[in-house]
């Protein structure tokens, strides 16, 4: 993907700079103070690498006025206004984020940087120099992918905690807490590898590049680490439509599972990865203390049970459907083993094209909300450590269920319990 295709302004900003050691893309809408914190922490990086910071700003239709040489003050950090998405180019929040990622990677190639850092979140403590924690392992530690670890809160990152992270751990053997970031540090070697494979592959939805980062890094033995960043403030994006979100996120994830099938079938167990810095102190539950309307979630699950049987029958084996029917609304629990089999069966159906892929992923919504309800009931009053233990149990269930996935993947017709 060419930068020019994304935004004329972004392309011009990049061309003015020429080259750099590090590219930092600020996708989050930072305040002046927060921006100052990022700027100062980047200036203090050891070795004074030349850093280009692309700061997200409103798109402009006319070309920007010529700016003076960004390095003229002999500062190692050049701050450039940048609009990754042309007006009307992206329809949804996820699409615009995905376009921004692609644009930053392309800009990184043009600038011939050693690494790229993507900043899509705001932290509760902006003075902690958390951006540098994503950057330093790339510049000093020879790592290729730096994934973030955030302070655990009960209802934050549910899709990541319930599917993306444990699936990555189970399939690719690396215990990455947030494989899809969204704040990431990526070496040029890795993102060029991902961009290269991207040219050969079509489809997969908006976030396909980000979804492929961790699998490609694990598959090709790139060096992966994660670092604690603290408590994250969630952007006020309209991502509450779980159905659209599942399609946008799981489409590329399942596609990646399909593309890397030969590799993950050989991986037998998972291993810890290098984790830098100290874990953040147990987070206050903040936004997550708000009571979740569990009844609404259970209601959606039950509606799905009543009305989506004809679709689920094409995807789930009879034993799984039977177990789902036995879930009682009074004592609502979806066992981990059952949830894991559901996710694996949907990944398989995605590969086989059993039904239209958009239909498939959207029909997972009631099951996902059912899992969320079960999780909410189980973790009532749980602290950060209890949450970690709960999610660890789920990850172990994913690993234990992997032989089931392998059997169904190899013999989808014959192995159908």
């Amino acid at each position: 993907m060419e930068v020019d295709a994304v935004s004329q302004q972004a392309a011009q900003s990049v061309e003015q700079v020429g080259s750099a050691d590090l590219l930092v893309g600020l996708l989050a809408d930072l305040t002046k103070d927060e921006l100052g914190c990022v700027y100062e922490s980047l200036r203090a990086l050891p070795g004074s690498p030349r850093v280009v910071v692309l700061q997200n700003g409103p798109a402009v239709s006319s070309p920007p006025p010529p700016t003076p040489d960004p390095w003229e003050h002999s500062s190692p950090v050049a701050l450039l206004p940048w609009s990754p998405v042309a007006d009307g180019a992206a329809a949804t929040a996820i699409e615009s984020v995905a376009t921004a990622y692609e644009s930053i990677f392309s800009s990184g190639t043009k600038l011939e940087v050693k690494a790229v850092c993507l900043v899509a979140s705001k932290m509760e403590d902006p003075t902690s120099g958390w951006v540098c924690r994503l950057v330093q392992p790339l510049l000093a530690g020879d790592f290729d992918l730096v994934a973030p670890c955030y302070a655990r809160r009960r209802f934050e990152g549910l899709l990541n905690n319930s599917i993306v992270s444990p699936l990555t751990r189970s399939l690719y053997g690396k215990r990455i807490q947030n494989p899809m970031g969204p704040d990431l540090g990526v070496s040029r070697k890795l993102f060029e590898e991902v961009l290269g494979s991207e040219r050969d592959l079509a489809g997969g939805g908006g976030l396909r590049l980000v979804a492929r980062l961790a699998p490609v890094a694990c598959r090709d033995d790139f060096r992966v680490c994660q670092t604690y960043l603290g408590s994250r403030i969630y952007p006020p994006l309209d991502w509450t439509n779980a159905s659209a979100l599942l399609t946008e996120i799981l489409g590329p994830v399942f596609l990646s599972v399909e593309k890397n099938a030969a590799r993950w079938q050989q991986t037998r167990s998972s291993a810890l990865i290098t984790t830098l810095d100290e874990p953040a102190p147990p987070a206050s539950q903040g936004q997550s203390q708000t009571a979740v309307d569990v009844a609404r979630l259970i209601n959606t699950f039950q509606l799905g049970m009543r009305d989506l049987q004809e679709i689920w029958r094409l995807v789930l084996p009879p034993a799984t459907l039977f177990e789902l029917q036995r879930v009682s609304p009074e004592k609502f629990r979806i066992p981990d083993e059952l949830w894991v089999r559901i996710v694996y069966d949907f990944a398989l159906a995605h590969r086989l094209g059993t039904i239209n892929r958009a239909h498939l992923l959207r029909s997972l919504t009631p099951l996902y909300l059912g899992w969320a309800a079960s999780y909410a009931l189980e973790t009532e009053g749980a602290d950060s450590q209890a949450l970690t233990r709960r999610l660890e149990r789920l990850s172990i269930a994913y690993e234990a269920g992997k032989p089931y996935l392998i059997s169904r993947w190899r013999w989808p017709d014959r192995f159908n319990p």
Partner: protein, 234 residues
Amino acid sequence: MWKQIEDALNQSTTAFITNSVRLLPGIVAMILALLVSLVLAWIVGLVLRRLLASVRFDEWLVRWGLSPAVEWSPSRSPAALVSGLASAAVVIAGLLIGVAAFNSELTSELIRAVVAYVPNIVGAVLVLLVGTIAARFLARSVLIGAVNLNLDYARFLSAGVKVLVNVLAVAMALEHLRIAVGIVELAFGILFGGIVFSLALAVALGSKDLVTRSLERDVKKPVREPLEEPLRHL
């Protein structure tokens, strides 16, 4: 008198034999055309089946959301259905060519009429096929979307969409076949309008309480900000 009867019989027999003999080349030509078309149909079917299998036609249809085509095909293989249809078309074409070999005015007229009607039949079949597949696809989309929106009458909405699209497809197919065009148009208008009206009525009556409560709340209670969604998915 016997002589006259004998002559008449001889003439009739001669005429019959002559006519029969005159028909013989046509019959032979028709049998030959039929045989050739059967062989051609077999070859076309075989080649098409292998070609479609090599491009994974069945899997592609499912990926495009056309899984109903799979369910309705012989041996659950749309490739087999397509190759079978192509073979049948070749046989029918051979039969028509064979009949044309008789070279009589009647058969020519008949063939002309049949051939002129073939595009209508093909068009109607295509319209029906596409309509049915579209109906299934749209019904499934509506069903999933409605369930995800927590609508209690999701299945009802989905069934309504399916019936509407199917009715539309049947009406279009009948118009293609030029069967009672006026009646079909009228019946379609009444039926389609009736279905839409009954759906609207049913949904409106079904959500009567909801609307009443909503209006009462709006009038009696102060406007309240919607609760913040506490679930953060990614």
